[in-house]
Homo-oligomer: 323 residues x 2
C-alpha cells in the first residue's frame, strides 16, 4: 500500500532534473550540487487543525505544504531544486492523495522542482516537506546582517491570509459585512500562498537580512532584530494592504491582521537605503512589488508606531504552536 | 514555546562540522558538499503506535528515529553528515523532549552528524527525520545492480527486533519460556537498532546492490530483485541468528522472524562471489560480520528454500503500513 501511494504521487509529480542522479525508489536519493554553490535545506510540517482547517481541499493542502517550504528557501535567496515528502494519512485514501499530489505538483512545476524521496505512514493527517535549494557560495540572505540605518521592506501585501482565516466562516463574514468577492480573494491567499522565490533571488547582494513572514510580521522581524543585535521600527500606516483587505476591514483590526496575522509568506528584509529605488523597481517588475515599512535602529526588538510616532499596541503579538 | 523546544534539542545535540555554514536559527541551513561527491538524502517518519509502542522510552525513540534514517544512508554506502528533525508532540513536554534529545544526540555523536534544522508542531506524537550523507561520485550502492551469479549476504543477525516486539509483553515471554536475559537482548535490538554505516562504506565498489532490512528480509530483497530484474534464492538454514534468538525460539517461528520480521536494519547485499573472502573478513573486522545467505538467479522474486531446496512458506510475507 505504501508503495502504491508513493507511485500515485510520483506519477503526478513528474519533472526530471539533470542533477538528480537517482530519484525515488532506492534507500536514498542521489543528488549533485553544482560547484561554487551552497545547499540550503529546510523542513516544515503541516498538521490538520493546526496549519490548515480540517476538511480543507486536498489540492490546496498540497500546494501550501510545498509553498511554506519554498518560502523558507526564498528567504535565503536560494533557487529551489529538490523536495522530499513525508505524508501521514489516517487511511489510504486515493482521492485525497490524488488531490494532494495535484496541488503539490502544480507548485513544483512552477519552480522546476523535483520530488526525490518520501515516506507514507498511517496516522493523523500531517505533511512534512524537506526542501533543498541552491545558492552561490556566500550569497545567501540571512537573518543576522541587518545594520543600523538600513531601511526595512516587505514584498506584496500583509494580512490577507489571517483575514481569510477570520472569515473562513461565511456567516461570520456576512455578519461583519465582508463582501463575497473580497472574502474569496482573502481565502485564496490563505489557501494558496505564493512563495517569493524570484524576489529572494533578486535580493542577493542587495538585502542585508531577510526572513519570510509566517508567524506574523512583528514576530518574524523580531528574529531578525535578535540575530542582528539591532532594533526595528515599523510604521503601521505604511504596511501594505491588498484591495480585498482594505474592502474588508480598517483601523485597528486591519493593522493587527497585517502586523501579527501571519501566514503571509511575504519576504521582510532590510537593505541600505541607497538600494531603495532598485528594490522597488526590480520587485515591481517581478510582479510582487515591495513597500518600505520602517528602519533598522539601535537597540532591540520591534516597535510598531503610528503616524505620530506613538507605539501601536497589538492584541495578538504573534502566533506560536502550543500557545 | 516552539523556539524553547528547539533550543532544548539544539543544546543537547551539539557537535560542529566545518561544512555547516549556517545551522539552526535561520530560514534554512546552509551546507557545503565537497567536490566530487554526491549528496544522498532520505526521509523517514516514526509514528507512535505504528513504529514504536505507545509509552516507549523517549531516549529509545530518539535513537531509533535517527537510526532508521542513518540505516538508509548506510544502504547507499554514504557517510552521514547532516540531519533535520520534525517533531510533532501532543503537548510541550520538556521531560520527553530532553529524553528524546539525549537518545538522538547519542547516536548523532557516534557518527559525527550535525543537526542543522527542524520544526516542532503540536499534534499526535510523530518524528520525521531527513538525513543527508556524502558519497564519492559514482560510488553509491544502489538497488538495481544485482547480477545473475552474484552471491547474497546480510550483515549481523536477523529477527531479533521482531522477536523483541513479540515478547514485549513479559507475561507472554514467560509463558513462551523465553529467559529474561534473552528477552532483554532482543528488546535492546528492537529499541536501539545499529545502523551499519561503516559496513556500507566498506562495501563501496564491492557490493553490486544493497538495501537495508526494515520491512523484512524477503520483502526488502524483493525490491532489489525487481529493480535489478533478477530473482533471488535464499537458504533458510543460512539466515544468521543471534544467541538470544536461538535461545528464545527455533524452527518455523525463528525462520519467520528472521525472514519476514523486519526492523533489523542490517544490510542485505549482492556481490560477485569472488569478493566473498574480502566481505567476510572486512565486515568481521568492523564488528558486525556478514553471512552468505543465497544467490542471485535468473527470473524474478525472492524464494526462500530449505536444505532440500524446497520452498519455505512464510505466514507473514512482510510488513506494510496500512496493511
Amino acid at each position: 500500500m505504501e508503495f502504491a501511494l508513493i507511485e500515485r504521487i510520483r506519477d503526478r509529480c513528474t519533472g526530471a532534473r539533470a542533477d538528480v542522479v537517482l530519484g525515488i525508489g532506492d534507500d536514498a536519493a542521489l543528488l549533485r550540487v553544482p560547484a561554487a554553490h551552497e545547499l540550503a535545506v529546510t523542513t516544515d510540517t503541516l498538521v490538520a487543525g493546526v496549519h490548515f482547517p480540517h476538511g480543507a481541499d486536498a489540492a490546496d493542502i498540497g500546494w501550501k505544504a510545498l509553498a511554506v517550504n519554498l518560502s523558507d528557501l526564498a528567504a535565503m535567496g536560494a533557487m529551489p531544486a529538490w523536495v522530499l515528502l513525508a505524508l501521514t494519512l489516517p487511511q489510504a485514501d486515493a482521492a485525497f492523495v490524488d488531490g494532494f499530489a495535484s496541488g503539490f505538483a502544480e507548485l513544483m512545476q512552477l519552480h522546476g522542482v523535483a520530488l526525490v524521496g518520501g515516506d507514507t505512514t498511517g496516522g493523523p493527517l500531517a505533511i512534512g516537506v524537506t526542501a533543498h535549494g541552491l545558492v552561490p557560495t556566500g550569497c545567501a540572505l540571512r537573518r543576522d546582517g541587518a545594520q543600523v540605518g538600513d531601511a526595512v521592506f516587505v514584498t506584496g501585501t500583509l494580512g490577507d491570509a489571517a483575514a481569510g482565516l477570520r472569515w473562513l466562516d461565511e456567516a461570520r463574514a456576512r455578519r461583519d459585512g465582508v463582501d463575497p468577492s473580497s472574502r474569496a480573494a482573502l481565502l485564496q491567499r490563505m489557501r494558496r500562498p505564493t512563495p517569493r522565490v524570484a524576489a529572494g533571488i533578486a535580493l542577493r547582494g542587495i538585502a542585508s537580512a531577510c526572513i519570510d513572514v509566517s508567524d506574523g510580521l512583528v514576530a518574524d522581524l523580531g528574529h531578525v532584530a535578535r540575530r542582528s543585535a539591532v532594533g526595528i521600527r515599523l510604521h503601521a500606516a505604511q504596511l501594505p494592504a491588498s484591495p480585498a483587505l482594505r474592502a474588508a476591514c480598517a483601523g485597528e483590526l486591519r493593522i493587527a491582521l497585517q502586523a501579527a496575522g501571519g501566514d503571509d509568506y511575504e519576504l521582510a528584509f532590510s537593505a541600505p537605503p541607497a538600494h531603495e529605488d532598485f528594490i522597488l523597481r526590480e520587485l515591481a517588475a517581478l510582479g510582487c512589488g515591495a513597500t518600505r515599512i520602517g528602519s533598522v535602529v539601535a537597540g532591540s526588538g520591534v516597535q510598531l508606531v503610528d503616524a505620530a510616532d506613538r507605539p501601536v499596541a497589538l492584541a495578538q503579538p504573534g502566533w506560536e504552536h502550543f500557545a
